[in-house]
Symmetry: D2
Subunit: 137 residues, 4 copies
């Protein structure tokens, strides 16, 4: 069962169309990734400082299926997948949750991450704890 | 006891100095205001549509007391105060919470709101449910 | 020759990694789209109000090729392509510009837009001026 | 005559009220500060790295006088004032510019900055080039 992150849509997530601005969906997915790492004992802020590597995003893609308005409740599921010794993908499903009835998909997204040395920017194998989290995904 | 909103600092809240960008503190305070309203049964998204008024911010001020980094936990306290028939202020204390020991103030902020007709932009008395929330603050 | 939008990277575009947050690349691409429309006499704010349609983004994808730091200069090229009677794509190339030497690609991105009635959310043909801009792309 | 920064309001600056979100006014003022520094030969990204100091914002205040919508043109004037050996203030006037007629003030804001060592966070005198820029303000 994938990690799930619950969130309310805030006013600052929205734009003049009255709904969440498309790029904010990706920022919200990144929050879910941070929470999933923290829940696994790998806090973003310190883990990468300690290991000397970073895992920047090389690609992203998203399909926006339903508009989201201020005050609405969402749940973001995160599923990691190993791509290679030094890369992985995250698949996100962003559900619009409902107090009465079935949740509905508001978006799906995917980010691809490559592990590099923070100093030289050369590719490096995923650190063991991160690899373990990805492989358990 | 003031309403309190718990929040984790996200990567997208930070800037290249490694800490939360100053304007984001105010956006986070606004999240706490939205949550306080929702907890009082006055959801921002529908309440103002239904009443035909809006309560835009006329002034803001903030003192930034401590830097906040990605992954840190905060708690935002919100206290409303009536200013006049058609205006109120919100005082925010943003606490950096600690698992071991005393919380510390990371910022204090204040916003002042004026109630106006959304169509004519003329001043209007606070709707009764909003006035009740402010006066109970 | 595609429309080009020049921009400096701001501090608020960056995150604690010291570079532009990945979702901000897409927000910057959207700025270029707004400027391209305005240059064609189709300002986003009024055009859609006047025509009763909106063109929300159904899909986005991006490849992040180079990090961008605060103060760096970029140029975003926008090329529209017709997909159907009621949809189009925008291809973006985000160049990191250099005062001495060749510009380098910092990212490529694509957004797909579907034209719908703002009230019923049913698909509608692109308004003629928008169709003309897309078809000239 | 104060430094002036010209800017168009983008869609991502706005919120569901259809106008610029209040905290974004301060982010836009910070852009003007960055541009003013760059114009004076003090680029934010490298200047502070080179001098070992930072000048974080200790306080901010703003009065929001007029709403701003997507596509509108603004001009932000920046005036620095020395407060002490190790601190200064920036006063911002955000003008809504008009092609036909007088510009109107959309907001005024002020930020106060304290110069500290980036390592120890102890107060330090402003570096000479920054002091010169402030004192010429």
């Amino acid at each position: 069962m994938p990690f799930a992150y619950a969130r309310t849509i805030h006013f600052s997530d929205t734009d003049a169309a009255g709904i969440v601005f498309f790029a904010r969906y990706l920022a919200i997915c990144h929050e879910a990734y941070e929470e999933a790492l923290a829940a696994a004992g790998l806090p973003l802020a310190t883990f990468f400082t300690d290991t000397g590597v970073i895992v920047p995003i090389g690609k992203s893609e998203a399909s926006y299926l339903r508009p989201l308005a201020c005050g609405e409740k969402i749940r973001v599921e995160v599923t990691p997948t190993r791509l290679s010794e030094n890369s992985f993908a995250l698949d996100f499903v962003l559900w619009k949750t409902s107090s009465s009835g079935a949740d509905k998909r508001a978006a799906v997204a995917r980010t691809e991450h490559v592990c590099i040395c923070s100093r030289t920017r050369e590719r490096r194998a995923l650190p063991a704890p991160l690899a373990a989290w990805v492989d358990a995904g």
